[in-house]
């Protein structure tokens, strides 16, 4: 099951400059493990030592913030689009 993951500029050093890569997983946690297997080190930028999402990282599945849909346990299915973005100010 391949899922498209959009990578922000700041993390493209891990993906050889690719804006978008494919990864696999039934949950977001599995997807991030798969991402890290292909692009070693990227997980450490997304997940903190206590196992949660980094405070300044937002992850969206089909444009919805995963912190409100089960966080790392958010279920994924074929064709979903995952977007990773750093947290920035608005206003």
């Amino acid at each position: 099951m391949a899922i498209e993951v959009k990578i922000p500029t700041i993390l493209r050093t891990y993906t050889g400059g690719e804006k978008s890569v494919e990864a696999k997983g039934d949950t977001l946690a599995e997807l991030i493990d798969s991402l890290d297997a292909d692009h070693p080190g990227i997980k450490g930028r997304l997940i903190t030592e206590d196992g949660g999402l980094h405070r300044f990282v937002n992850v969206y599945v089909n444009d919805e913030d995963v912190r409100f849909t089960g966080s790392l346990e958010t279920k994924l299915k074929d064709g979903d689009a995952v977007t990773i973005l750093p947290a920035v100010a608005g206003g």
Binding site: P8, T9, I10, R45, H54, R55, F56, V57, N58, Y60, D63, E64, D65, R67, F68, T69, T83, L85, P86, A87, V88, A89, G90, G91
Partner: protein, 319 residues
């Protein structure tokens, strides 16, 4: 009563208008209706008038602001314009730190009200404006930074104004949808509504920009406003420029409401909620029209194809 002693007294109490054409089920026993709160009807034409006046009043009450003081604020535009009007009427100077990739109308309005603008680099967006303002605050300790991202008066303005107005006008409210920037609107209105309407859903729509705006050097430069408390929200959506533009045009074409681009993003989130309401359920979804479209005409948002308009917006801050 629609007579006021001054412009500032005319702030708030904005109309709530129905969207009979865009709502999935306007009529019937179990309607799914959308309602627009027209915050462009505030004195300078945006929802930010509420927070600006409240923050100035709070700083006056605390004795931080005295006649002749200079106010400092990082802003992508609307808060600056609101503060510039309030500052002018109350006798303060204003220095705004604004990203350079904002619309020309914003600069013109700020200058018209007599504000001084210090531009921060486009790369890094509002994060950079916040960082620059914090440096200036250190350098000029007599300037008063109101700091909309962490000022409790910002959210309180919505707890006392926007929230009660919505409940008064729409006692059957089931969802509230607004933009997520400083988070003040969602935190204040959301807290009020959750206290009064137990099952109400509070939904955030945030803009998704092009790569330039997310050009941080590392993740630790990220920014989450001090006001933000995610326990207030039910769901949070990220909306692309394309979808925001598409909905901005739907709003004017189908309902006659000429709104700014961030309102399109909010409507996009409101519609995705509305489309998911079950057949047997009813819903009254209120959303915020943050400002009118006037300040965005120069961006080309309303002309040409959506794809062209979205490309023109690439790298611009539109919320």
């Amino acid at each position: 009563m629609t007579r006021y002693d001054s412009l500032l007294d005319a702030l708030g109490d904005t109309p709530l208008v129905g969207l009979p054409h865009l709502s999935p089920r306007w009529e019937g026993e179990r309607p799914v209706r959308l309602w627009a709160k027209l915050e462009d009807r505030n004195p300078t034409g945006s929802i930010k008038d509420r927070a600006a006046l409240a923050m100035v009043q709070a700083a006056e009450a605390e004795g931080r602001l005295r006649p002749g003081c200079t106010i400092l604020e990082p802003t992508s535009g609307n808060t600056g314009i609101s503060l510039a009007m309030v500052a002018k009427l109350r006798g303060y100077g204003l220095v705004c730190v604004m990203p350079e990739n904002t619309s020309i109308e914003r600069r013109q309005l700020l200058e018209m009200y007599g504000a001084r603008i210090i531009f921060s680099p486009a790369a890094g967006g509002s994060n950079q404006a916040v960082a620059t303002a914090k440096e200036l605050a250190q350098k000029y300790p007599d300037w008063v930074m109101l700091y909309q991202y962490g000022n409790a008066a910002n959210a309180q303005a919505h707890y006392e104004g926007t929230g009660p107005e919505l409940l008064r006008d729409l006692p059957t409210i089931t969802h509230f949808v607004a933009g997520l920037g400083t988070t003040g609107t969602l935190m204040g209105t959301g807290r009020y509504l959750k206290e009064k309407v137990p099952d109400v859903q509070i939904v955030a729509a945030e803009p998704r920009y092009g790569d330039l705006v997310y050009g941080l050097r590392n993740i630790d430069e990220g920014f989450v406003p001090e006001l933000y408390d995610d326990s207030v929200l039910t769901r949070r959506f990220s909306v692309t420029s394309y979808d925001a533009l598409r909905r901005t045009r739907d709003l004017v074409e189908q309902e006659g409401i000429f709104a700014g681009i961030s309102t399109g993003a909010i409507l996009h989130a409101a519609l995705s909620i509305a489309e998911r309401v079950d057949e047997g359920e009813r819903a009254d979804i209120a959303f915020v029209v943050c400002d009118g479209g006037w300040k965005y005409l120069s961006t080309g948002a309303y002309t040409g194809t959506l794809q062209e308009a979205a490309e023109r917006l690439e790298g611009q801050l539109w919320a």
